[in-house]
Amino acid sequence: MKFRLTLAIILAGAAFSTLTARAQVAVVAVAGDPGHLNPAISTAGPLHAVADSIFNGLVSLDRDGNVQPDLATSWTVSPDGREVRFTLSPGVKWHDGKPFSAEDVKFTFVEVLFRFHARTRAGLAPAVEAVEAPDADTVVFRLKRPHPALLRQLNVTEAPILPRHLYAGSDPNRNEANSRPVGTGAFRFEGYKRDDSVVLVRNENYFKPGLPKLERLVFRVIPGTNTQIAALAKGEVDYLGRVAPSDVARLKDKATLLDTTSGPGGANCIMTLAFNLQRPALAALPVRQAFAHALNRRQMLDLVQFGQGRVAQAPIHSAIGWATLPGALQAYEFDPAKANALLDQAGLPRSASGERATLDLLMFPAFARYAELMRQQLAAVGIALRLKPLDPAAFATSVFTQRDFDLALISYCNGVDPEIGVRRMYHSTAIGNVPFSNAAAYRNADVDRLFDQAGSSTDTAARGEAYREMERIVARDLPYWWLVETDFTSAWRGDFADFAPWSGQFAERAFQKR
């Protein structure tokens, strides 16, 4: 009897869920809880995955990293490259009905982004002398020196614009609007249940005509990747921003897949092995060269990435075509015999048990498969690895604050301009207590000079030449060994169309067919 009742309840529930009418609703899975929804004070991935649909930047970036209008409709750069003038889209309103103006932009940069947005504070603030709002529709950036990367640092992920009328005069870290955000974006905030879901609804007054098309955008926090895949297969979830390479095959005939080199954590990422140059064993160049010859990167691409990416050909990502130096690493072919010879020559002979040295490798648990494969490959040349998986907070402290490591496995994201994500890996001023900066503690005055030169010129050809010269030097010095360029895959159910890859305003144009 009891059993029958339970069964009846279950069946009734099932009937309810199938009877409900289909509106234009998309359910998106995110792996982590956003915490709060103020994208201007944090660079955390789960936060931006959600909040970037509520806000806008001055510009947006298309799939190929080209600059497109967002809040700014047009812009002009002065001949000396030190003044950039933006014209704002007229009649834009905040979700609470208040008018948007240039004062909001000025306030957000000066009071919030330059102080609390980690990447913008590090990568843009030092180049800016002043942000001015001469009238309601105009914003002027005065620069200390030409800063060619500026436009690519102004999209919603790098520089979301906050409402001044809600944030002025308060601590932006503790403002109530952080959990009830008011933006200008395609979707309005409706509700947030921690570790469960964030619900956004269509902004009927969005300043881009005809957009967005979805009525509701629901983010479900689902930590397990297996659960995410099962939820997509069952139809409980419509969009997965990030599908692990090992799961792509499982989804091939169940969903639309889109490969991209960018994600909310940054674009153009290279899985990289960092050598701690302050450790005597690794300070010797032949030892690092031996690593380069001993590691089979093709195998990493095949076994760990399942082919989702490319073996790195240069220190700068191949997608930044004007700066990368193809073939920069071709001297280091996979050759264990050569690696053995180099290690013998470096004074690291094999002991009786065949081992030359034991080294610590620190990494995120998510990169364990890379680490496992590296351990096997390096064992063949007599180097034993001790794997130390650490969560992000512990990893950042061990590597960048305490510098207590031999080797570290890091996914360095170059961004759309080397100024954003490459400079911090090599410049001597980026050594120290800054997460994901110069892990190797590499110092080379020529490299510093080339970065400074490339970072303050507006001539793309000259910049590219400086970066390529830099790549020749670091390919010789090997402070890092560049393993694999990793591609990301987004997936969505077949009855949806026009999702953008997982970043920024990915659902601005999306709609459900039929």
């Binding site: 529930g13 004070i41 479900r220 397990g224 659960t227 969560d391």
Partner: protein
């Protein structure tokens, strides 16, 4: 007597929370990295640490925490700014809705299964089932009932499309979403209860009073239920009580697997984010619940069995 027990309970909770305090503060990596994201400018981490008072010496932070605790203030989350107590109370219903049915299910069904006169293979198969970790059981259940038969949802507490109204409809939707998680959590413990009941009852069946009962003609089924079981129950109750911690730990895995917004998820998210006040508050709360339950179980024990006197 009761007072002394209470003092012990109080001391245990304080010790557990202080240990948690020490561990999370000594763990490498502070909340700044989690709060600010993955990269930053020089001085940024120090600034965030100052913002949350984390640049002070550890004893000072500890004393501050203890003084506030004395007034019943568990502090505020670094991440959300919400008070820790309200965060815990917000999540508690979900975990209760998961753990309470699972405890009941495994106690009742487990005892029933343990009482069955079964073949040889029973104990072995129960033991084998018990050895399967909860998340694996959960994944198999999802594969069969959600993906295979399609009758139950894969994840979440309510339907993500948000078309469900309030009231009964919502309750039904939640019940439907909880079936698989509760089963996954219960199965692991159910097998344990079944094995334990069986062993205990078998032990009682060897004893003179059950032999006497059988000799005077009581049916074997009744000997088990009426005579052996009540005596076996004593050990069962206390063991179930001591396993409550295990249920809570199991709930963490199940909440992660089924994406349920309960206390377990709060613990995981807060630990990764180094949200110290929340992690410490959770340890304080759970240890208090477990210690109190054990206290209640001990007292019940005395009620159930007059032979257990002041020795407890």
């Amino acid at each position: 007597m009761l007072l002394r027990r209470l003092a012990w309970a109080f001391g245990t909770v304080w010790l557990a929370a202080s240990l948690a305090f020490l561990l999370i503060h000594l763990a490498p990596g502070g909340p700044a990295v989690a709060l600010g994201g993955d990269s930053g400018a020089p001085g940024y981490l120090e600034e965030v640490a100052r913002l949350y008072g984390l640049d002070r010496p550890l004893p000072e932070i500890y004393l501050d925490w203890l003084t506030r605790l004395a007034t019943g203030d568990l502090g505020h989350s670094y991440r959300s700014g919400q008070s820790v107590l309200s965060l815990i109370l917000e999540r508690l219903p979900v975990t209760l809705a998961l753990v309470a049915p699972a405890v009941a299910l495994s106690a009742i069904t487990g005892t029933f299964l343990g009482l069955l006169r079964t073949r040889r293979g029973f104990a072995a198969s129960m033991a084998a089932l018990h050895a399967v970790p909860g998340y694996l059981v959960g994944q198999v259940l999802v594969m069969v009932f959600a993906l295979g038969l399609g009758i139950l949802p894969v994840q979440g507490l309510v339907d993500g499309r948000g078309e469900i109204g309030g009231g009964l409809e919502r309750q039904l939707d939640m019940a439907r979403h909880l079936v698989l998680p509760v089963l996954a959590l219960a199965l692991h413990n159910l097998t344990f209860v079944a094995l334990l009941t069986r062993t205990r009852v078998m032990a009682e069946m060897e004893r003179p009073y059950t032999l006497t009962a059988a000799a005077k003609g009581v049916a074997p089924r009744l000997v088990r239920r009426r005579h052996a079981l009540p005596n076996a129950m004593l050990g069962l109750v206390s063991l179930l009580g001591s396993r409550l911690g295990g249920f809570v730990a199991g709930a963490v895995t199940i909440e992660v697997l089924f994406a349920l917004p309960g206390l377990g998820r709060l613990a995981v998210t807060s630990a990764i984010a180094r949200d110290h006040p929340v992690v410490i508050g959770l340890v304080l709360f759970t240890s208090a619940v477990v210690v109190m339950t054990n206290l209640v179980v001990d007292l019940t024990f005395r009620r159930l069995d007059p032979r257990v006197g002041d020795a407890v």
